[in-house]
């Protein structure tokens, strides 16, 4: 009786549509987030993450509708991140049907927002999303960056930041390696191990998976869950293949 390693596909959503390309067979409309969420549920995904990449407030309003429609049809947990700044944003997403909410830039600019959200909704709703790059002038050698791929510097030591977020009340950490992201050379195992050593809350590893065999080492390094986007979307690897690989390596899966 051990909690299963969660395998989580992540979908980028803009103006109510999945962007950055998803290529699913047997789906007439591969851009519909609700249809894709249902397809991933059927494929055995343990959770889903929507990343709201909307630039405009009108598009953000559309996101609530997407979340609502997904929650009505897909009966696995749904995390929504992107553009979350205040407890009110969290409230709206939870009411729309999200189970957890990811926060990133807003927590860096104002860490107290982590406590405010945790106190009001419980720490289990809050996923601290950290985009981490190496080679910076920090004690651990890893730095938290903002604005995704643009690697905008914050001066924050990534390992210390994750530990602080956990203390402030984050329920989980989504650890995204900017260095590994898109390289398909495997997860950043040293980063996972370093953050694992610093926090006791669940840790989701993200960035770098290229094949099913890349997943078990991330779990061995200390991840409780694994997240990937394009390799699932383009069918390079299926959820089932990742679970089989994890199972073969002795990790419990659903």
């Amino acid at each position: 009786m051990t909690v299963a390693v969660r395998v989580i596909p992540c979908l980028d959503v803009d103006a109510g549509r999945v962007v950055k390309g998803v290529n699913f067979e047997n789906l007439r409309d591969a851009g519909d987030p609700v249809a894709l969420a249902a397809a991933y549920d059927a494929a055995g995904a343990d959770e889903l993450t929507f990343l709201d990449v909307s630039a405009s407030s009108g598009d953000r309003a559309t996101m609530y509708d997407v979340v609502a429609r997904t929650a009505e049809q897909v009966f696995i947990p749904l995390t929504v991140g992107g553009g979350v700044r205040t407890p009110e944003d969290v409230d709206r997403l939870l009411r729309a049907g999200a189970d957890k909410v990811g926060i990133n830039t807003a927590a860096i600019s104002r860490p107290e927002v982590i406590s405010e959200i945790a106190e009001r909704f419980g720490n289990q709703v809050l996923v601290l999303s950290a985009d981490v790059a190496s080679g910076r002038d920090t004690d651990s050698g890893w730095e938290v960056t903002t604005h995704g791929g643009q690697k905008r510097s914050t001066g924050l030591d990534a390992v210390e930041w994750c530990a602080r977020a956990a203390e402030l009340g984050a329920g989980e950490i989504l650890l995204n390696s900017i260095d590994s992201d898109g390289m398909k050379q495997g997860f950043d195992l040293k980063l996972i191990a370093a953050v694992r050593a610093a926090v006791d809350i669940p840790l989701i590893a993200s960035g770098g998976a290229g094949k099913a065999a890349d997943f078990p080492p991330a779990v061995a390094a200390g991840a409780d869950a694994v997240l990937a986007a394009s390799i699932f979307h383009f069918g390079d690897v299926s959820i089932g293949e990742v679970k089989q690989e994890l199972k073969n390596a002795g990790h419990p899966v659903r």
């Binding site: 009786m1 929650a71 009505e72 009966f75 720490n123 869950a225």
Partner: protein, 206 residues
């Protein structure tokens, strides 16, 4: 035959949309309500809850739901609590050293999980007492979705329980008479959760 009615009680807690649809899908006529008469009248009362025990219990008391839950259980009318909605059915909850009185349907104390990794988050298996109606026909290997830091640790007298282990054993589900509770989220537990909710709803019709 008409569908069994379920009152999904809204006292200001979390994501109710999934619970609403999951109950509907499992065969119930669902009413989302904050009305006590609706909660009295329905064939089944569903008590949701996320967040802190004390905050949830305050919401329950503020709406007068604690009284209706006790009335229903005394009258053998079905009640199902989920997650913190399950926890508040116990005698008391302890968070950060502060004790909060619960509804008191199940004897016991809800406490912090003594586990290395807290919150306990994800899909886990449970060991089910023989004869539990909630789990009738469900494969013992099935996993359910948990997300919580606190739990009851002991089976209340005369109750049947499903026990999950996350470093230490705790009560994943419990039933006695018309009162039932699950620490996990059946509405988020895919097909296994659907089967459990269907069992509960089938019982309402009986």
């Amino acid at each position: 035959m008409s569908k069994p009615s379920v009152a999904l009680f809204d006292y200001g807690s979390g994501n109710l949309r999934s619970a609403f649809r999951a109950l509907e899908r499992a065969g119930a006529e669902v009413e989302l309500t904050s009305d006590l008469d609706a909660a009295r009248r329905a064939d089944g009362l569903f008590v949701p809850g996320v967040g802190a025990f004390a905050a949830c219990m305050a919401g329950v008391v503020k709406h007068g739901l604690d009284t209706v839950i006790r009335e229903r259980v005394a009258a053998d009318a079905p009640v199902l609590g989920v997650c913190v909605g399950a926890q508040v059915l116990f005698t008391e909850g302890v968070e950060h050293g502060i004790e909060t009185e619960g509804v008191g349907v199940f004897e016991g104390r809800v406490e912090l999980l003594a586990a290395q990794r807290v919150p306990h988050m994800g899909w886990n298996t449970v060991a089910v007492d023989e004869g539990m109606r909630l789990f009738a026909g469900i494969d013992p290997e099935e996993r359910f979705y948990f997300v919580h830091s606190y739990a009851a640790k002991a089976t209340p007298p005369g109750a049947l329980a499903a026990v999950c282990t996350h470093d230490e054993p705790f009560i994943a589900a419990v039933e006695r008479g018309s009162a039932a509770a699950t620490q996990f989220h059946p509405e988020k537990s895919g097909d296994a959760g659907y089967a459990l909710l269907s069992n509960w709803i089938k019982d309402l019709a009986a």
